[in-house]
């Protein structure tokens, strides 16, 4: 971006954003849908979250505009991810036009031809990175996979384990997540869920916990039934096993954060077996929703040991307390590869404690539940 005055773009963007991110995004989408009505179908009926997402992405792009090393991988991921919405290379100029019209609209007298030309050039680079990455995988990978629900197993009133079947295997790595769209219940709403089994087959086990008001989690746990259709997006996430490492493993999971751990254990059983400690935490005994499966794994694999801790249920005879604390108290993990997955609070507390105990930052990989 040598010829582009990025400082001027940042300044202009700040001035535009001062009108209120939601206002700006509202104008953008209205302009886009007015000029290019065919794009409306890619978006959900309710656009509130979508506007937040757009603003978030724009802020991130503008913030990192001088940092191509950070920005380009993000844009490539974003471009690949957009394929599942039905985004084609041809849609990018339309979005660019809407973006420029929006910026000009909110800039008022501050708008100059130079600013317009710089924004257009910057957008071409962004769109190029996104659509380039999308085109690169288009030949080898579908934009999405249609799936059918085979079973919804309600373990508690707000936790369900779903088995879904695709026509062809989804090429995820154990530990990665897939965006899931309940095609009928909440069209065009996509949220990430993690397969709990090893890749390679057409059946995928998904663990869903209902988040109050979360459209997709509510649909998966309370609405969807056997036979309903889902769409699955391409795999994402960097919490995966490193085949090169032969360090023993520590896995710390809170609630449905168990799913990636189960997938990785299944993967380890098939490939290299590494000494693995799995710590699973839940609030109550009932919410330890996968105890039978964990007990079976614990029995079957000599290299695996499973500890379940309950934080808020006096009936439990095993370890009591927050799972991160329980795990940290039970050993010196400084020579382990560590995976942490759970609620944002659980992940933050667990990672903090493990770092304090001497586990190096680069040995810890973690994922948080998103809003779903």
């Amino acid at each position: 971006m040598t010829d582009i005055d990025t400082a001027a773009l940042k300044e202009n963007f700040a001035a535009v954003a001062a009108h209120g991110g939601d206002e700006v995004a509202l104008y953008f989408y209205s302009y886009l849908f007015l000029r290019y009505p065919e794009t409306r179908d890619m978006f959900p009926p309710g656009m509130t979250k979508q506007r937040d997402r757009l603003v978030g992405a724009l802020v991130r792009i503008v913030t990192d505009v001088d940092n191509a090393g950070q920005l380009v991988p993000y844009l490539e991921d974003l471009g690949r991810d957009h394929r599942k919405f039905g985004t084609l290379t041809a849609h990018y100029p339309a979005v660019g036009e809407a973006l420029l019209a929006t910026l000009r609209h909110f800039s008022g007298a501050g708008w100059t031809d130079k600013l317009g030309a710089d924004w257009a050039a910057a957008y071409r680079i962004v769109a190029g990175a996104m659509s380039g990455a999308a085109e690169k995988v288009a030949a080898s990978e579908p934009a999405f996979w249609d799936a059918e629900i085979l079973d919804v197993d309600h373990r508690t009133f707000d936790i369900a384990v779903l088995t879904v079947r695709t026509q062809t295997p989804v090429p995820y790595l154990a530990g990665q997540s897939l965006a899931v769209e309940p095609s009928l219940a909440r069209p065009r709403e996509w949220r990430f869920f993690t397969p709990a089994n090893a890749p390679g087959g057409v059946d995928i086990e998904l663990h869903a916990r209902l988040i109050p008001g979360g459209p997709v989690s509510t649909a998966l746990v309370r609405v969807c039934q056997r036979g309903d259709r889902l769409r699955l997006g391409p795999p994402f996430g960097r919490m995966t096993l490193q085949p090169a490492s032969d360090r023993p493993l520590l896995m710390v999971a809170g609630s449905t954060g168990l799913a990636p751990m189960k997938a990785m254990i299944a993967e380890l059983a098939g490939t290299g077996r590494r000494r693995t400690h799995l710590f699973f935490g839940a609030r109550s005994v009932r919410e330890a929703y996968d105890r039978d499966a964990l007990a079976a794994l614990d029995n079957r694999y000599g290299w695996l040991s499973v500890v379940t801790a309950i934080s808020d249920d006096t009936r439990w005879n095993g370890p009591q307390g927050l799972i991160g604390e329980v795990a940290a108290d039970q050993g010196d993990w400084s020579d382990h590869d560590v995976f942490v997955c759970g609620s944002p609070a659980m992940v933050e507390a667990s990672v903090k404690r493990l770092l304090a105990d001497g586990v190096l930052e680069e040995q810890i990989k973690f994922e948080e539940f998103g809003e779903a």
Binding site: L26, S30, L34, G213, S284, D313, R315
Partner: protein, 299 residues
Amino acid sequence: MTDVTSGVPGGITGAELTTATFATSKGFGKSGYEAAEVDEFLSRSAAAVDRLNAQLTDTEQALADARAEIQQLRERVDRDSQSSEVEQAVTVLTTAQVTADNTITYADDYSARVMAEAQELYDTTRRNATVLEQETESKSRAVYEDALRRVAALERENEERVAELTLSAEIAQEELDGQTAYLRTLRDATRIQMEKFLEGMLDHLSEQYGRAHPIAAQAANSAVPGAAAAGISSGNNARRTRRNQRVSGRSVTVAGRPAVAGPDRRRQGAADAPTIPPPRSPGRSPSQVDRPVGTSITD
């Protein structure tokens, strides 16, 4: 400049101005250009400058007009994307989207509220259930332990009773055995004494009266062999046995008496009787004489 004026009819060019030549005056004492030619050239030049000035003004006006038009057109092009119609349409769409968003947000909020309440209810119920479960568990454990304690106490009591009963049964048996032994000893001793007494009596009788009545003495002698069959240890002769047989019915009565007389008699008897009682077995040396006695006691 040259080009500008070249097209002007009757005009004058720069080249003409620089290369203009005039005829020399031919009058006596005069030298210079022909005045008429110069005048004519100047007037043509003046006219050309006037026309050029006028044309310049027109051109400048046309240029300004064109510029204004371009500006107008450009502004219209810009406005096209921000024209009032577009602005209106964007506003309408925005309003519609906001309305839809509000409706959906309301529905999602409602769902969130309901689910949050359900979650809270679930948690409360779970905690209550836990408390109840624990109470029930501790109560049932108390009942169970109490029952266990009672069962243990009853068992202990029963064992004690059984032990007691066993003990008293043993005592009773021992007592019975002792009495039986005593009675047997007494019987045997009495029998011997009686035999001795009767033998003495018979001897006495045979001595005193046998000589007077030989038949009686003969009868006394023939009665003795029966006593040997009764298992009497002392040496007997045929005569004594016969006599003994005759008095055996009385002997039963004598032997039976102490049997109902109680322990006092036993102790007393123990002193009188042989110290080692005969074996208790009912099968011992059966005899017609003592069978009814032995049977009645051991049964």
